[in-house]
């Protein structure tokens, strides 16, 4: 599985890319592989306030609906509208064009609880 070096990871298989006080979030290559063909993404509403670990949206494959959890605390600032017409972007480019939402980080957002690429690789047993 592809585990980019510039990302942080939640144990529930979401990734986070931080740029200043904005964090872009998606699901990992491992997660999309486990889910198989993504056919629908229920995007969160812009302005939604979430805590770390809180269920925020749903990704559906042919076989199942899976909850997605916010890796950290903040307010939803943007969502990836492209997923509405092409949900399979999550399969083809999970860490890039398949991003799901952007959070404006809360002042108390603590990213230190997230995993480094090496720690996430260890979780997947591919260290």
């Amino acid at each position: 599985m592809n585990i980019p070096n510039d990302l942080l990871f939640a144990s529930t298989h979401e990734w986070l890319r931080r740029e200043n006080n904005i964090a872009t979030v998606g699901i990992t290559d491992h997660a999309q592989h486990e889910l198989t063909d993504v056919v629908y993404v229920e995007l969160p509403a812009i302005g939604t306030s979430v805590e770390a670990g809180q269920q925020i949206c749903v990704v559906e494959s042919v076989k199942a609906a899976s909850d997605i959890y916010s890796p950290t605390s903040g307010v939803v600032e943007a969502v990836n509208e492209a997923l509405s017409s092409d949900p399979a972007l999550i399969n083809t480019d999970p860490h890039g064009n398949g991003w799901i939402f952007k959070l404006k980080l809360a002042d108390n957002a603590d990213l230190s609880a997230l995993k480094t690429p090496a720690q996430y690789a260890e979780q997947l047993g591919q260290a």
Binding site: T36, D37, V39, Y40, E42, V58, E60, S61, V62, K63, A65, S84, S85
Partner: protein
């Protein structure tokens, strides 16, 4: 967990082929290899091969076999000639469905029943409980393997695998043949709506035949297929799945399967209730639903609303890869069964529009009736 799951003779091969193994009705089965949608399209456009070794093979023989089966199955067994099969149902005393199955006449006093994997024990117990003189049951489910080869190109593949016989079985026929590798039973049946075959062979020949069929069909686009697309394919053509769309509390008349019920043939278990329903009409009927626009894929047990009143729940649902929209089935009150009736599905607290449809919701190019 694995220890209590049953494995088909192809279990190791599935893993080698990249099959993603899941639990299904007590069996470890591949849900997909390359992807459900890709495999679905392969069956609609070329061909796919499915492991159906988990299904049950029960042989019924003896001078009274025909009469026995006609008293316990809804279709008319006496209409079958040697080498012919029919879709049929086994009902409880209240007319509810125990199982749906295929019944083939192999010779005048020998029948093969192909039953759902999760129902083998229950079916055999029910048959045993009603067994009379002059009938012998033989549950050979463990010693047979089965594949389904489905899709518009399946006939060429099956023909070559059988050494190009002068004639292939026609729809619902079954061919019993001795191949160099052993006995093979091939029927022209399936669960996808496409032209297709079901291929039964001794379990110890399973790997040989699977690899042979795949190597013959590969160039034409034959791919191994999992249970995931088996479900989307059957749902598009409105074939019911026992345990979801069929149940002991619903009759075949409610399920829209009256074509396979021969009330005039004489007594059979469940017939009294069906006669009563036929006389008075049923309260509900299993209908198709097609979602409108981009919606989450419907799944089973989603509540259906009509004018703000909850009227039913879905029995099956999925994205339809062929229609590229959500589809479902549900037992709707008779007043809402007119195709085109507008309803709404509740999905995680939000309502999404759907239209009532006849079954099938999708008609394949090589359409075949059950």
């Amino acid at each position: 967990m694995d220890a209590i799951l049953k494995h088909t003779p192809l279990a190791n091969l599935h893993v080698t082929l990249g099959g993603r193994m899941v639990e299904f009705g007590g069996w470890q089965m591949p849900v997909q290899y390359q992807g459900i949608i890709q495999e679905h399209h392969a069956v609609r456009k070329a061909a796919g091969i499915f492991d159906i070794s988990h299904m049950g093979e029960v042989f019924v023989s003896g001078p009274n076999a025909t009469r026995f089966l006609n008293g316990i199955l809804t279709n008319d067994v006496s209409l079958l000639r040697d080498g012919e099969g029919q879709y049929t149902l086994m009902l409880n005393e209240k007319g509810g469905v125990i199982d749906d199955l295929l019944c083939y006449r192999l010779s005048p006093n020998l029948y093969l029943l192909v039953v759902n994997a999760s129902m083998i024990e229950e079916d055999v117990a029910w048959l045993h409980a009603h067994l009379g003189d002059g009938v012998t049951l033989s549950n050979e489910s463990d010693s047979w393997a089965g594949f389904a080869i489905q899709g518009p190109l399946s006939a060429n593949i099956v023909s070559e695998a059988l050494g190009n016989p002068p004639q292939l079985p026609q729809r619902n026929e079954i061919l019993s043949t001795e191949q160099p590798a052993g006995k093979v039973l091939v029927s022209r049946t399936g669960y996808t709506g496409e032209d297709g075959f079901e291929w039964f062979c001794p379990a110890n020949q399973a790997v040989f035949w699977w690899e042979r069929l795949l190597s013959i069909g590969k160039a034409a686009g034959l791919v191994p297929c999992g249970l995931g697309c088996r479900d989307t394919l059957r749902l598009e053509v409105g074939y019911p799945l026992n345990g979801s769309d069929l149940s002991p509390s619903k009759t075949p008349l409610e399920a829209g399967l009256s074509f396979f019920v021969k009330l005039e043939k004489g007594p059979f278990i469940g017939r009294d209730r069906l006669l009563e329903q036929k006389a008075h009409g049923t309260q509900t009927r299993l209908m198709g639903l097609i979602m409108e626009g981009k919606t989450p894929p419907p799944r089973s047990h989603y509540t259906i609303f009509h004018e703000d009143v909850a009227v039913a729940e879905t029995t099956s649902g999925s994205l339809s890869p062929s229609l590229e929209t959500g589809i479902a089935m549900a037992y709707l009150p008779i007043g809402l069964t007119q195709p085109g009736t507008r309803v709404e599905l509740d999905i995680r607290g939000k309502r999404f529009p759907a239209v009532v449809s006849k079954r099938p919701m999708y008609r394949p190019s090589t359409t075949s009736k059950l």
